[in-house]
Symmetry: C2
Subunit: 202 residues, 2 copies
């Protein structure tokens, strides 16, 4: 529901308009499907507003989410909405010198490199919507410090919305977020012996 009355009116010294436009940290977690697809669906709205969008894909495989990536790149290049910049951990991150790959960066080091770039981009206000896809995992595994993430998000300048996806979002992140949705599996085709298929899973 896009419209509605809030449940409480906080005593925060903000006007309704100021409060309405406060940037959000959103988290999509849980074991069900739809966490990333909903984040990319949200990116369509941001694109329509003309916002610069940065996607950071914190997964090892470079092949995941190729459909979303191609669609958002076509949208970004159309010149009719916001720009889209897509960063993939699975390809060793675009800003890292290629010769680093000679030494095969570990997933843990790669996730940390990704987070360092997110911090730089937040400080520089490069984007207005940041999708940190599957970023819950490196926090859950202790590769990236949750307390630092929460502090950096809390102190980020300007009007930057951040969406974080992934199972097992740490409680501290959930406590710090403005919008948290849990996707639960009620039923999945794999339970009935059906494997993933094109157009649906990728």
């Amino acid at each position: 529901m896009p419209k509605g009355q809030p449940n409480v009116v906080p005593q925060d010294g903000l006007t309704t308009r100021q409060r309405r436009n406060r940037p959000l940290v959103a988290v999509h977690t849980g074991v069900g499907k739809g966490k990333s697809t909903a984040a990319f669906g949200l990116a369509l709205r941001a694109w329509n507003q003309g916002w610069p969008i940065g996607v950071f894909q914190f997964v090892k495989s470079a092949k995941w989410k190729v459909g979303e990536e191609r669609a958002l790149k076509v949208l970004g290049d159309s010149g009719e909405g916001g720009s889209v910049t897509w960063h993939k951990m699975g390809e060793g991150w675009s800003w890292i010198q290629r010769n680093v790959q000679d030494g095969e960066m570990s997933s843990e080091a790669a996730a940390r490199e990704g987070w360092e770039q997110v911090k730089r981009d937040l400080a520089a206000e490069t984007y207005r919507l940041l999708v940190l896809d599957e970023f819950a995992y490196p926090m859950h595994w202790g590769w990236v410090d949750v307390e630092e993430v929460v502090a950096v998000l809390r102190d980020r300048p300007g009007t930057q919305h951040v969406v974080i996806t992934g199972r097992n979002a740490p409680q501290q992140l959930i406590d710090a977020a403005d919008l948290v949705t849990e996707m639960s599996k009620v039923k999945h085709p794999m339970d009935a012996g059906q494997k993933g298929q094109k157009g649906i899973e990728w």
Copy 2:
């Protein structure tokens, strides 16, 4: 997870490949956010596969989801992926003669008209992915007969995936669906007095 091993291998006489490509009925339900955004995120994958996509928006307001609509239209018109056809109940459905509006069609009648068109398009195999956005409501309210929906979906020809969104999806639909995700609200900005904002809610 796009890859993985199914929990069971059913004795259904199908090869793994046949079973894998069996068309799905997916339902996104629950009171949390992300039901529609995840459906439109899924449409990005279908678009990337070059599939014709039909969206039927079963909501009264013509203004909802303008971001998703514009993005998917730009994608459909890009010629780089599948086509996109977008039908809005809020504008009286495009296929209905405009003079019908003189008599102001009720939401109930409009929802029924939408379902009749979905039936025609399923029979004609017009699309390969159908997004029936907010279609759970007219079923929940008894405007459209759930048993008929389940039978039509069960008997649909060809390879047509159907995604249905909305709170309160009827149990019969859930029983008949292949993939059901419940979006639950863990936390929402409105709980803290923050109303919806552009780029996030629309």
